[in-house]
């Protein structure tokens, strides 16, 4: 890549870096792993920049790299986490007061199985449609809908009903 392309790449990355890191954090829930994933993503983006910059939706392309890096990490024995089959019991008395709910939401998101958490983050943080999420993950739209619904059901304890109501 020449200097002009490097400058173009740098400008693109710097304008997206914060959001990319936060997306990665929501997926894996710790900054160390998140920044590993972002580094992998940015490295792959740099290596394919000549093709990538011509893409119709470069943000979607970057998001796909990040997501697949995250899912790929989960397959490696030395990075494998143990997703719980039994999500925590739903809290029945949670008032939406701010700091405690942020911690509740964080804990509940962490407890979601990897794929479910990925679907929730893509759908509701990255604001992808069902179709876009299914396309990115290579699964059916039905799977995305069911994973979204299950994920939201778990998060219900820490999210006001009026927020979830708009998502149904």
């Amino acid at each position: 890549m020449g200097k002009a392309e490097d400058d173009e790449y740098r400008e693109f990355v710097l304008s997206r870096l914060d959001r990319l890191r936060r997306t990665a954090y929501l997926l894996c829930r710790n900054w160390h792993t998140a920044d590993d994933l972002v580094s992998i993503t940015l490295t792959r983006l740099y290596r394919s920049w000549g093709r990538a910059r011509a893409a119709n939706n470069l943000d979607a392309y970057v998001r796909a790299i990040l997501t697949h890096a995250w899912l790929d990490e989960g397959r490696r024995p030395w990075r494998r986490e143990d997703p719980t089959d039994r999500p925590p019991d739903r809290a029945t008395e949670v008032s939406f007061s701010g700091a405690s709910d942020r911690a509740d939401l964080a804990a509940l998101l962490t407890a979601l199985p990897r794929r479910q958490r990925t679907v929730v983050v893509l759908r509701f943080y990255c604001d992808l449609s069902v179709t876009e999420t299914a396309e990115l993950l290579g699964v059916s739209e039905g799977t995305v809908k069911s994973q979204s619904a299950r994920g939201l059901e778990i998060l219900r304890a820490a999210v006001p009903d009026h927020v979830l109501g708009e998502l149904s």
Partner: protein, 287 residues
Amino acid sequence: MKTLQTLLDESIVDPMPPFTSVDKLIARERRRRARHRVGVACGAAAAVLAVIGGVAFFGTPKGGAPPLTINPAGPSASTSAAPSPSGGFVRPSHGAETDAEISARLDAAFLARLSTVVPGASLDQMITPFLGADRVTLAEHLTFSGKGTIIMPGGAAGVELYLFRPTPGTTRADPPGIQTYKEIRERVFGGCAGAFVLNYNGSPQPRPAPTDATCAEADGPFGSRLTLVQERNGEQFSNRAVAVFPDGSAVSMTTRNDARGDPGGPPLQVMNLGQLADIVADPALIP
């Protein structure tokens, strides 16, 4: 009124640490590219081993080749794509060809490369030609594919090849409901990130969890990008090497242990990843 997006964002309470400078990343990648332009004439396997030496590829076969050995064969003599001093890629030009002519050319190139990289190996092909035109695999790509068995004194392995050349502006005949091509696209062009994409034929397919699965990427000759994959599921064992060239052409080769191996014995690995890499990184295999 807060949205779930806002709530998720606010749930990030751990302070964000400093991030590696983007300029450092760019500088590192520039140095890496400069390093791997050197020694391009040494063949794919040497470069692969140099880059991924720390990756724990597995599979000590019984009577077969060790998992990853250097096979410093240069590019096939049949290619007309001579590397420039900087390792630049130039797609071989063959003029107008019928499918039959392309098949004959690719068959000859593959067999020549196979015999160079794995002396004594032969191909037990199920149909002739071995590499035939596949009109429905990927949009905007001319695709040739073939399946057979590679036989050598150490044993045998099933082999599957996909060869791609970009043909911008063309469409594929996509049978309704068939979306296996998403898997192929990811596994060929997706690097390690796409190496284990689920097969999807209109409905999600549960994939048997492999006992072990490993992937690594490396720069190869002619500016190619190599992806090397091993998967083991009990006694089922496969190696896959993919080379994607700078113009978007790609060659993918998978070998699987043959069921004729000793029952209950360790998986039989006929060809190692270095050998597969040496084969796929040959531009003569581009349709």
